[in-house]
């Protein structure tokens, strides 16, 4: 994300009552609960088109139209040529293809909208048609699409076939050691582009140098930008440190544009200037920037953004970052605001621009809103899913927190895995990550030493290598960085000096990597639309065009890529579960012995409660899901039964592992007709011999939160039922944990071990239990 020149900030106006559940007797307290949700930190705005608060239908949005005579435009979108503002003029002169416009504009918007979601209409035909469409027409067409149609059309229309992603690498201290380490980590996670900016503007040269070194660790090809003041950013680019730029913001009204201190011509000049230095460039625009800046002209977010996008195509930039960007939080306060962000991304790719699809400035405190917003882009694919995911922690994100940051990166990796959708990232092994961070720090220190920029201590380096964020480092302060940065600038250090320094100090691979990125400039291949570098090759919309034409076409995960997405950390395997259980075996064997005594007889004394355990209980499995040793569970149940005058008898059941049938079979053996079924994972049931299998007396289904006291209570109640009493059922209180998510993989693996030991028709087996030690 680029920093726009104007932004409005301020704390949310929400005040929370000291008592979160205040409201007295005349309030349904559910509303008090809702008040405490993160969602309620978000403020929402009423639709108010006159004051610029309209996503799709502005008070003064013009109707689409074009009048052409003698090869000249007489009017565009109802505005006579004589009244064109500078944006209209630029679009009319440089975007519109006058030969095509009459034909394209004559098509009904509904028909074009249908073409956008029709797999039979090729992307190339729609991209060609867009050369003849005006901003109001483009807006009118995409406004007809529902959210799912927008996402679908986006997946068809986006420019490059292979999806990618962009990350932020910044920190609150502008610490170059941390920048290098974090850049190296971001590269390993798979970002195609990384972007830095500063807390202190004069630290830009240091940030640029540090990130360029960090980005050369491990592999080459990650493009890098240093978001700074336009003039300085270009100078840093000319010194060779950066390979792309996206701070070139454009706006949809003339007043906002000049207030942003530029014009379409100055920005277009800048675009050509970047290209002339061999630097990839995209523009920045997005909903609500004009509203934030106070010059919205009572027009909708979508129409103004359509103007921005036509302008960008007119300027001849290869791409854009849009989808709200700085304005995303404001757009999201409006009805349909998030759908509008999707609509404007669609216009961008329809105009054949590379699109970094926002999902950048965090639009909500609600993790649900954040996850929902990213999903369409993740499953549709995008040139750059985020135009800046925070690869660093929120507080270190000098652009402001992103939708996803260092904190949430693993959530994103799992979403990719869930949907088998390529969001451009991959997991990184823990030890590999640390190794890369240390390598980056050492490489930067070598450059510092060689170029006389500083000599960080071992303690500084170590603190940075292991730090999750800058709060944990004992490294450079922003003031110290300023001296380094100004020295880099004053000495005129350029990227070749850094490459040579790396090579001289033995970092030859890194020197080669950095040189490869700079060398991209010579051919300029990476200036084409949506170019990124993958495995040492430039891919772009030219040689990797999105050719989606229905199922089986377009981007599909290769088997290898699918494996990469699946390879998140800490994945359970059957072997691991068995290994873990085996480690408990030795301890359990010291606490308890089970002696098999042959077929268990039916019926005993009237106060007898039979406890039927599962096939693998104490043989292959030794602990409940809550972590209680099975010996302790048996002891608690037995003590509970005896405490209420009952007599426990233990049997092992081999014909079933199902709790209900364990319980019912045990009950049928018991003199009292009351039995307890108990699985090794801790699920337990009290049953009665005359009941239907699944109509038990009491069930403990939440084994992970069942305590030994609960098991004792279960035993007590079983004994009370045996006496014909009606006790208060034992309740295992749940706080609503998603126990299925936490345990079901383990449960399935454990349960498979139980079922593998079952034998059809096996008789209940009497077992004698001896406790070897006192209870823990």
């Amino acid at each position: 994300m680029a920093v726009m020149s104007k932004s409005v900030s301020g704390e949310s106006g929400k005040t929370s009552a000291t008592d979160p559940r205040s409201g007295g007797a005349n309030r349904w307290r559910r509303f008090a609960d809702w008040d405490e949700r993160p969602l309620r930190l978000d403020r929402f705005a009423i639709e108010d088109p006159e004051n610029g608060f309209a996503a799709f239908k502005g008070a003064k949005d013009p109707k689409p139209g074009i009048e052409i005579a003698d090869g000249r435009i007489l009017s565009m979108d109802g505005i006579p040529a004589a009244d064109f503002d500078m944006i209209d003029h630029f679009i009319a002169t440089h975007h519109l293809d006058l030969d095509l416009a009459p034909e394209a504009m004559a098509l009904p918007s509904r028909e074009i909208a249908r073409m956008l979601v029709d797999v039979a209409v090729p992307r190339t035909e729609l991209a060609r048609l867009a050369h003849g469409l005006t901003p109001a027409k483009l807006a009118e067409v995409v406004a007809q699409l529902s959210a799912i149609e927008l996402a679908f059309a986006f997946s068809k229309m986006r420019t490059r076939k292979t999806p990618g992603n962009q990350g932020h690498v910044t920190n609150a201290k502008d610490d170059p050691l941390q920048l290098a380490a974090d850049a190296a980590a971001a590269v390993a996670f798979g970002f195609d582009e990384i972007e830095t900016t500063m807390r202190v503007a004069r630290n830009s040269w240091s940030n640029a140098l540090a990130c360029s070194v960090g980005a050369a660790i491990g592999r080459w090809g990650t493009l890098f930008q240093c978001s700074s003041e336009e003039n300085e950013e270009l100078q840093i680019g000319m010194a060779g440190f950066t390979s792309y730029a996206e701070t070139v913001s454009v706006y949809g009204t003339e007043k906002a544009f000049t207030d942003g201190d530029d014009t379409p011509w100055s920005k277009a000049f800048l675009a050509a200037a970047y290209a002339s230095r061999g630097i990839k460039m995209r523009c920045t625009s997005g909903a609500a920037s004009e509203l934030l800046m106070g010059f919205h002209e009572a027009k909708s977010l979508l129409y103004l953004e359509a103007r921005c996008l036509c302008l960008q195509r007119a300027m001849g930039v290869q791409g854009t970052q849009n989808g709200g960007i700085d304005g995303a939080p404001l757009a999201s306060t409006m009805p349909g605001g998030v759908r509008e962000l999707m609509a404007e991304n669609l216009i961008a790719v329809w105009l054949d621009l590379e699109c970094a699809t926002g999902n950048d400035a965090r639009h909500s405190e609600s993790e649900i809103r954040v996850g929902a917003k990213i999903l369409p882009f993740l499953i549709a694919g995008s040139d750059l899913v985020c135009s800046g995911m925070g690869s660093i922690l929120k507080y270190d994100n000098s652009f402001n927190p992103s939708s996803f940051n260092g904190e949430e990166m693993e959530d994103f990796l799992v979403l990719q895995r869930d949907f088998e959708a390529d969001g451009g990232l991959n997991s990184v092994d823990e030890s590999r990550a640390l190794e890369l961070r240390r390598r980056a720090i050492d490489a930067l220190c070598a450059v510092f030493a060689e170029l006389d920029l500083g000599s960080p201590t071992a303690a500084m380096k170590q603190s940075v290598a292991i730090a999750s964020g800058s709060n944990e480092t004992a490294s450079y302060t922003p003031r110290e960085v300023s001296f380094i940065s100004e020295k880099i600038k004053a000495k005129g250090i350029n990227v070749l000096d850094v490459i040579k320094a790396l090579a001289r100090r033995g970092f030859r691979e890194e020197a080669e990597n950095l040189l490869q990125v700079v060398r991209l400039r010579v051919s300029g291949d990476y200036l084409q639309t949506a170019a990124v570098v993958r495995r040492g090759r430039v891919i772009s919309a030219v040689n990797d065009p999105n050719d989606y034409g229905g199922p089986g076409s377009g981007y599909r995960l290769s088997p290898q890529r699918r494996q990469e997405l699946a390879a998140i950390r800490d994945v359970l395997t059957r072997e691991e579960v068995l290994r873990t259980e085996a480690t408990y075996a030795a301890a359990e064997n010291r606490r308890i012995t089970y002696r098999a005594l042959g077929t268990a007889p039916a019926a005993g004394p009237e106060n007898e409660v039979v406890v039927g355990v599962s096939p693998a209980f104490g043989i292959k499995l030794y602990r409940t899901l809550a972590g209680h040793p099975l010996s302790a569970v048996l002891r608690a149940i037995g003590d509970g039964i005896r405490a209420r005058g009952g007599e426990p008898r233990f049997v092992r059941l081999r014909h079933t592992a199902d709790t209900s049938f364990l319980g019912l079979s045990a009950a049928r053996l018991a003199g009292s007709g009351i039995g307890i079924g108990l699985q090794a994972k801790g699920t337990a049931v009290i049953h009665q011999k005359d009941r239907l299998p699944h109509h038990n007396l009491e069930l403990f289904s939440n084994a992970p939160i069942t305590t030994l006291d609960h098991y004792r209570g279960l035993g007590e109640n079983a004994a009370l039922y045996a006496r014909g009493e009606m006790p208060e059922p034992v309740v295992v209180p749940t706080q609503g944990q998603a126990l299925g998510a936490r345990y079901h993989a383990q449960v399935a693996l454990i349960y498979a071990i139980e079922t593998s030991l079952t034998q059809d028709g096996a008789k209940p087996e009497a077992i004698e239990i001896s406790f070897q030690e006192a209870a823990e």
């Binding site: 530029d262 230095r277 040189l515």
Partner: protein, 148 residues
């Protein structure tokens, strides 16, 4: 777009892209070095300078031809304008950019002078015409006004 590159048939089609891979023989540094000579060893030996690692007007025209053949005429025109700016020194570039920002020029003549400089000193006719267009519109829209 039909630039000189196109006319000479240097670029046969988008199959020539990426040039560094498919047509390495036509990619040369500003000082005439082929890509394969731009090695780390050459950098260490001082044989490769930052100038060798910039883009050339010819490479931009070649990319313009590719962009045009890929159906992106406006991108091609930007590359063509960029080709004219390669030889323009950094300080001049930044000065003209600054002049094009709102309120920097007090009147149309200052902008027209910059256009003349581009055309006459740097042989950048397309860019010059583009700057002249800006001067015209700035005047019409009242941009020659005090800002700070």
């Amino acid at each position: 777009m039909s630039g000189p590159a196109d006319r000479n048939g240097r670029i046969r089609g988008i199959a020539d892209y990426p040039l560094a891979e498919k047509r390495p023989e036509i990619v040369k540094s500003a000082r005439g070095k082929p890509l394969k000579d731009l090695t780390l060893a050459a950098v260490e030996a001082g044989e490769v300078t930052l100038e060798d690692l910039g883009i050339t007007p010819q490479a931009l025209l070649d990319q313009a031809a590719i962009a045009a053949k890929a159906g992106r005429p406006t991108l091609a025109r930007n590359f063509a304008r960029a080709a004219e700016l390669v030889e323009v020194p950094q300080d001049v570039l930044l000065r003209i950019y600054e002049l094009l920002r709102p309120g920097r020029a007090g009147n149309k003549d200052e902008v027209l002078a910059a256009a003349r400089e581009l055309r006459e000193t740097y042989n950048a006719p397309t860019m010059a015409a583009f700057v002249e267009e800006a001067a015209e519109i700035y005047e019409r829209r009242g941009l020659f006004t005090f800002r700070y």
